[in-house]
């Protein structure tokens, strides 16, 4: 999942970006409202973490403008203010959740994860794929009850494909949701990552779950259940 973190305090921004990346998220960071509006209009973020107090354009105003310009990703508001009015205004403007500073890192990660699941219409934290299960809360994959060792990026890939199971997902979509600005857009990182993931699953004894749809992308689950890609 790709997360946009908007926080103007440099230390907090950097440490949150690091924590989110270690948790397997592709993360972009913005330090003010103007950056947010530009980035949110070009990248299909899965979750936006937005600080209310920002320089120049207030976070609530950023949220309002972003929603008006078509941002549909769930938004988690961060604020040091404890007043109810800010929270109510934020939620009324289209934020999905709220977290007051200082917060627990685990709570922030759990809320980001929950919002990401909601974004993909997934209410349960565990996605069952036959003998393979993807636990989105624990960030863990098991095959026949045994853990499958995956790097964060590999986990992010199977989680995203699992969220989109049954549909063909293009490479560009995978890139947009799994890789942040650090990834080289010219490389064939997606193909490589899919290849590695297949090997890891195969080594764990899992059946072939990821099908290649030539010229279209990849589809997780049995090939016959894959729907054609609507907008490639």
């Amino acid at each position: 999942m790709r997360v946009l973190l908007v926080e103007d305090a440099p230390n907090l921004r950097e440490s949150l970006v690091a924590a989110l990346r270690r948790s397997g998220y592709a993360v972009d960071a913005a330090k003010d409202g103007a950056e947010v509006l530009t980035m949110a209009s070009t990248v299909p973020y899965d979750v936006v973490v937005l600080d209310i107090v920002l320089p120049r354009i207030d976070g609530l105003e950023v949220l309002r403008r972003a929603r008006e310009s078509g941002l549909d990703a769930p938004v988690l508001l961060l604020t040091a203010r404890s007043n109810v009015a800010d929270r109510v205004i934020g939620l009324n403007l289209g934020a999905e959740d709220y977290l007051g500073k200082p917060f627990s890192l685990d709570e922030l990660l759990a809320r980001v994860q929950a919002l990401g699941r909601r974004r993909h219409g997934q209410s349960k934290p565990v996605i069952e794929l036959g003998s393979v299960s993807v636990d989105t809360a624990a960030k863990r994959v098991q095959c026949d009850g045994k853990a499958v060792e995956l790097a964060p990026r590999e986990y992010a890939l199977i989680e995203y494909l699992a969220f989109r199971r049954g549909t063909v997902v293009s490479r560009s979509e995978i890139e947009a949701h799994i890789y942040d600005d650090l990834a080289d857009p010219m490389s064939n990182v997606v193909d490589s990552a899919v290849c590695v993931l297949r090997k890891r699953l195969s080594d764990a004894g899992a059946p072939p779950l990821i099908q290649t749809r030539r010229g279209l992308g990849y589809c997780l689950e049995a090939p016959e259940s894959c729907a054609p890609l609507a907008d490639n």
């Binding site: 305090a9 907090l12 440490s15 924590a19 107090v53 920002l54 040091a80 500073k101 200082p102 890192l105």
Partner: protein, 460 residues
């Protein structure tokens, strides 16, 4: 609890009751006096009739009076009585008197004597007595006529009843009408009270309506409105302070918590960089708390002032090197105007803190490539240190608010300044008997002026 409405109603009812009682009493007295005058006139007519019937024949006084003409003197009717004396002997008495006597009081015919008395048959009566010379003789005789006051008293009684009844009715009307007059009259006050009861910390934007209010209430509303405006401003400032304080403390706290939890969650990533970031957050909090404590002490006059001879110009020159590199990086030029004889006595540490803050603000917040003017000059028994720099976007309102705690032109936490420096500088200026003011001219040049007395004020 005292009720103004009740107090006014009771007071007005009591006043009206007294007026009605007094009016009734006066009316009764006037009627009584008129009836008695009328009664006395009747007695006078009767005594004149008796006098007319009295004559002296051959030295003997006779009264030729027949009660056939005035039946009230008759024994059976007995409503009136008369008795005539010649010297000490009774010449005549009415049949109604039978063997009784009337008192022999008298006056002249022009000024007869009248008095209340008890009639021989024990009824209340009134009498008139005159002395006169009958026809045909020179010896005076005395004639006294009395009559029962029964009808007079009955009539007075009826009048008294009418006055009491009328007065009581009036009292009832007054008691009913006055609350209906007082109530609406107090409505404006009631409205003010009702509105006042709805005002709380979250509704300080309310104002009392002045339009249409009675002139007595208008000054109250105006004063209350002015008070509300001050309260609103003060509450807004306090709310801003609380929010800013939360802002300034919660952010480094959040940083430290995320860093620490990250180190626990991913120990392999913990290293010097993480500790450096954590220390940075800690130092920011420490500086914030230290400044808040300094500010609190200064605001509560808990700082000790140690006046020494200082020269603001020399201190500014001494402080400048710490900012010179930053000024050069931002292509700022500095114009110095340090006049001689600008020494004065004050606490040097305080003065350095104030001037350091002003220099730092000028260097950090001026647009790149502009001119900063620094001057120190003497005006009478005061020394003025001024630092001015172009400050685009800085308004008169900003100049009024920039000494508030946590005030920042941009209210987000970006930048290294916590927004406490100017607050502290102003408090320290006050501690040394100086003033620190900000003004912005039409060209957008901000000037901070420290105005200090040459001699420090006496410590109370």
């Amino acid at each position: 609890m005292r009720s103004l409405s009740r107090q006014l109603t009771l007071g007005l009812v009591a006043a009206c009751s007294l007026l009605i009682l007094a009016g009734g009493g006066l009316m009764y007295a006037a009627i009584r006096s008129a009836l008695y005058r009328q009664f006395d006139e009747g007695l006078r007519t009767k005594v004149l009739a008796v006098v007319t019937a009295t004559e002296t024949r051959r030295g003997r006084v006779t009264v030729d009076f027949s009660d056939r003409y005035l039946r009230e003197f008759d024994r059976r009717v007995a409503e009136a009585f008369f008795q005539v004396w010649h010297g000490a002997s009774v010449v005549s008495r009415s049949d109604s008197l039978q063997d009784s006597d009337l008192p022999g009081k008298f006056g002249s015919i022009e000024r007869p004597v009248t008095w209340d008395m008890e009639l021989p048959d024990n009824r209340a009566g009134r009498a008139i007595g005159v002395e006169l010379r009958p026809r045909g003789g020179d010896d005076p005789v005395i004639a006294v006529v009395a009559a029962t006051r029964g009808s007079l008293e009955a009539m007075l009684g009826r009048f008294a009843l009418m006055i009491i009844g009328g007065g009581g009715g009036l009292l009832l009307v007054v008691a009913l009408v006055i609350p209906r007059i007082v109530g609406p009259g107090l409505n404006p006050l009631r409205k003010v009270a009702e509105q006042a009861s709805t005002i709380g910390a979250r509704t300080l934007e309310q104002r009392f309506p002045v339009e249409g209010m009675p002139t007595e209430i208008v000054p109250i509303c105006e004063r209350l409105n002015a008070l509300l405006a001050r309260l609103e401003s003060s509450f807004a400032r306090e709310r801003r302070f609380s929010a800013d304080l939360a802002h300034e403390i919660m952010t480094p706290l959040a940083e430290m918590r995320v860093l620490t939890e990250s180190a626990l969650k991913w120990p392999e990533t913990s290293g010097p960089e993480m500790h450096r970031q954590s220390l940075g957050s800690l130092l920011r909090m420490q500086e914030l708390v230290t400044r808040l404590l300094d500010l609190s002490r200064a605001e509560n006059d808990e700082v000790e002032v140690h006046p020494v001879d200082v020269d603001a110009g020399a201190i500014l020159r001494d402080l400048w090197p710490a900012y010179a590199d930053r000024a050069a990086a931002r292509r700022l030029e500095v114009n110095w105007d340090l006049q001689p004889d600008t020494g004065f006595r004050c606490d040097e540490a305080f003065l350095r803190t104030i001037l350091r803050n002003l220099l730092s603000n000028a260097v950090e917040h001026s647009p790149p490539g502009v001119l900063i003017r620094i001057s120190v000059l003497r005006r009478g028994d005061r020394v003025q240190a001024e630092i001015s720099n172009p400050a685009p976007g800085f308004t008169q309102e900003d100049a009024a608010q920039c000494f508030d705690r946590f005030w920042k032109k941009d209210r987000s936490r970006s930048g290294t300044h916590g927004g406490l420096g100017l607050s502290l500088a102003r408090e320290l200026a006050a501690a040394i008997g100086a003033t620190l003011e900000a003004r912005v001219d039409e060209a957008g040049v901000l000037t901070m002026t420290l105005d200090a007395p040459v001699e420090p004020p006496a410590v109370s």
